[in-house]
């Protein structure tokens, strides 16, 4: 996990090899893409008579990974600044519930969405302020809010789920299809494009990477690093709130268990995609591919008919192999 010595080892993490990009095509920068393609091909061959390659199934994978992907987009920014956000899963749970309760109370879809997103923003704000103003390590801050928010989600309805009968809400946030295209695919694509441009093409994105690359140098260069950090936590909270809406729309209910354990999947998708846990290097597209790859593996292994235990073993191995594959020669 060391990258302070970037000066000597030469290569920095995957995904941002400006160095050799110009000169030669270095396929090692595209490990996650290659691994993803490999996984797809493997399952397509072995499971082609079991429906893996059907459009329906592929769309299912998109549906199942949408929440992780969306939270992953925002997490890419958080991790790019060198911080971490463990509270996303619990935020999704809480916002699914606050949105459902708001709708149930008769404030309609707009009210529900506003409250759900507001919940996410609020927690994000708390995270951001604690990290920036009190300078508490974000691991601890968000571990704390993770617990607090998860407790709150349990407490608010005493663990009971809250059904959502608003058909429009359920359609727009999760269950709907426009023609053959699931609405979750649209959300994912739109959010990915926005996030990609935000990170690569705007000052905010550049300053996010700078903050993670070397905070004090960024500060000297006029980057308001504290504000950037606050913003990335806000963004992460917002997207987690949004994921909560999608969970709610997809399951037609709010429930305190939604998103449980998602923080690890989200972080895994981000790191797998090539974003460095040390900050300074981030890739939005990589994150989405990372998330899709995890989703595809889940899906393929289930279709294969493996036990949960076998699925876990193989999934673990694939994650390692995917990265090891081609990394052999480079040190980061």
């Amino acid at each position: 996990m060391q990258s302070k010595d970037s000066n000597l080892n030469g290569t920095v993490a995957v995904g941002s090899h400006t160095v050799s990009r110009k000169k030669t095509f270095d396929w090692r920068n595209y490990i996650v893409y290659l691994a993803f393609i490999g996984v797809i091909i493997y399952f397509s061959v072995t499971l082609h008579d079991q429906g893996f390659v059907s459009t329906d199934n592929l769309l299912n994978i998109i549906r199942q990974t949408a929440m992780i992907s969306l939270m992953g987009l925002a997490m890419t920014f958080v991790i790019s600044t060198g911080e971490i956000d463990l509270s996303v899963g619990s935020i999704a749970a809480l916002s699914s519930l606050t949105a459902a309760l708001t709708i149930q109370a008769g404030f309609g879809m707009v009210g529900g969405v506003a409250v759900g997103l507001g919940t996410g923003l609020l927690v994000g704000l708390v995270n951001g302020l604690l990290v920036t103003k009190l300078a508490i390590p974000s691991f601890l801050v968000t571990l704390g809010t993770m617990g607090t928010v998860a407790g709150l989600a349990m407490w608010i309805t005493d663990t009971a789920p809250v059904p959502i009968v608003d058909a429009t809400f359920n359609f727009v946030f999760g269950s709907g299809d426009i023609g053959p295209i699931p609405i979750l695919l649209i959300w994912t694509v739109v959010a990915t494009i926005i996030a990609h441009f935000l990170l690569r093409k705007t000052s905010f994105g550049r300053q996010t990477l700078a903050t993670g690359g070397n905070e004090s140098a960024a500060r000297f260069s006029g980057v308001k690093t504290q504000r950037i950090k606050l913003l990335v936590f806000l963004g992460s909270g917002f997207m987690a709130g949004f994921a909560g809406l999608l969970y709610a729309g997809r399951m037609h209910a709010g429930r305190f268990t939604f998103g449980e354990g998602d923080e690890l999947s989200v972080i895994a998708a981000v790191i797998l995609g090539g974003t460095s846990l040390f900050g300074g290097v981030g890739t939005v597209i990589g994150t989405v591919i990372g998330s899709l790859m995890i989703g595809t593996i889940n899906n393929g292994l289930i279709i294969m008919g493996l036990d949960v235990s076998q699925q876990m073993m193989i999934k673990g191995l694939i994650i390692i192999l995917a990265v090891a594959f081609g990394k052999k020669a480079i040190k980061r």
Binding site: Q50, L59, N60, T257
Partner: protein, 366 residues
């Protein structure tokens, strides 16, 4: 969740007070004809909880003892646990027994034994508990028994403990009966013919094993034309959707899916929605809000076997009370299950939770 404070109007169970007077029994409206299919942990025949009672005099006598009870749950995050805790609390209140702690083992035996140790610091007279894992929690429960605490277990006793000596009794729902109910509803909906999938709990957990066994045995023995073509395991209820999607991908003409309890069944529902399998028949066990809503609105969930956790709680409390009075108690007590379909969903709700179904469910049933 003790459910003491009502935070929202509709979505949750209220703590129901029991009648202030008269003998303490489980809900008298539960049909006493219902046959109990489950056998006890040592193969005992079940003693029906309907027959348990404490008279007013007995209650008065218990009150004088100023006893303390602790509830050591395996998990508290579902309707089942909440209702059972409510039943226990209500019954203990009538008996004048103070509930000094309710703990949640979060499905982890190591957490549960820590809970037992911690709770013992408050020296309770009674512990009512659902062991997360009968094997690895046994030593701690034994310690509690040796400390003179009266133990009543839900569903399954810890390994190596003897009824009458180490613990009082085990009270369970008729899990086997509920599995059968789910199978019968499935068969009826499919007209006795079709291909179905089963989503089971891929963890060695007594209660869930019983349900699946009951479901699969019933289908195989009584309905030879129904074939179980797919089986998929879950370890977390959130996995229901992914597993169901996989099944529907592989067998896109699947007629029905049985899910081990209501939360994964909601995942099956989401999967069926996404893949457009509108006429998939889903059956399950446990009457949760969302499952009830879907049943009431004529959705894909066609029926389920409901447990009566509130009454199970009362039965456990009565057994503890009887033991405090020095009475001998039956080692295995079962609370009958209830087959729930669109026709009886509102009544069933009333019976299970002793309160009318939430408004959403009611309006859907119209």
């Amino acid at each position: 969740g003790g459910g003491s404070a009502s935070k929202t109007e509709e979505s949750q169970q209220k703590a129901v007070k029991l009648e202030e007077t008269g003998p303490l029994t489980i809900n008298p409206e539960i049909s006493s004809e219902q046959e109990i299919l489950s056998k006890g942990p040592n193969g005992e025949d079940a003693f029906s909880a309907i027959k348990l009672q404490l008279t007013e005099e007995e209650l008065a006598k218990i009150k004088e003892g100023k006893y303390k009870a602790a509830i050591v749950m395996h998990y508290t995050g579902n309707d089942y646990s909440t209702a059972q805790i409510n039943g226990l609390k209500a019954a203990f209140e009538r008996m004048g027994i103070e509930v000094v702690a309710v703990t949640d083992g979060q499905f982890k035996p190591e957490k549960q034994i820590a809970d037992i140790e911690t709770v013992l610091a408050k020296s309770p007279d009674i512990i009512v508990s659902l062991p997360v894992d009968p094997t690895s929690t046994a030593a701690s429960f034994k310690k509690a028994a040796e400390a003179g605490v009266k133990l009543v277990f839900m569903d399954v006793p810890p390994t190596g403990l003897t009824a009458g000596k180490d613990y009082l009794s085990v009270v369970s729902s008729d899990n086997y009966g509920n599995g059968v109910a789910a199978a019968e509803t499935m068969a009826k909906q499919l007209g006795g013919k079709g291909e179905i999938g089963v989503i089971f709990h891929d963890v060695d957990f007594f209660v869930n094993n019983q349900r699946v066994e009951a479901f699969e045995t019933t289908i195989k023995e009584k309905y030879p034309d129904i074939e179980i073509v797919a089986r998929g395991g879950i370890t977390s209820p959130n996995d229901g959707e992914e597993v169901a999607s996989g099944m529907l991908t592989k067998h896109n003409d699947l007629d029905g899916i049985f899910a081990i309890w209501d939360v994964p069944a909601e995942g099956v529902l989401a999967a069926a929605r996404a893949t457009g399998n509108e006429d998939l028949v889903i059956t399950t066990v446990d009457l949760g809000t969302n499952a009830a809503l879907d049943i009431a609105s004529g959705g894909s969930i066609k029926g389920l076997g409901a447990q009566l956790p509130y009454d199970q709680g009362i039965a456990e409390a009565i057994l503890a009370g009887q033991a405090l009075l020095g009475k001998e108690v039956p080692p295995y007590v079962a609370v009958p299950g209830l087959s729930v379909t669109e026709e009886n969903v509102l009544d069933a709700w009333q019976l299970v939770y002793r309160q009318p179904a939430p408004e959403v469910v009611q309006s859907a049933a119209k």
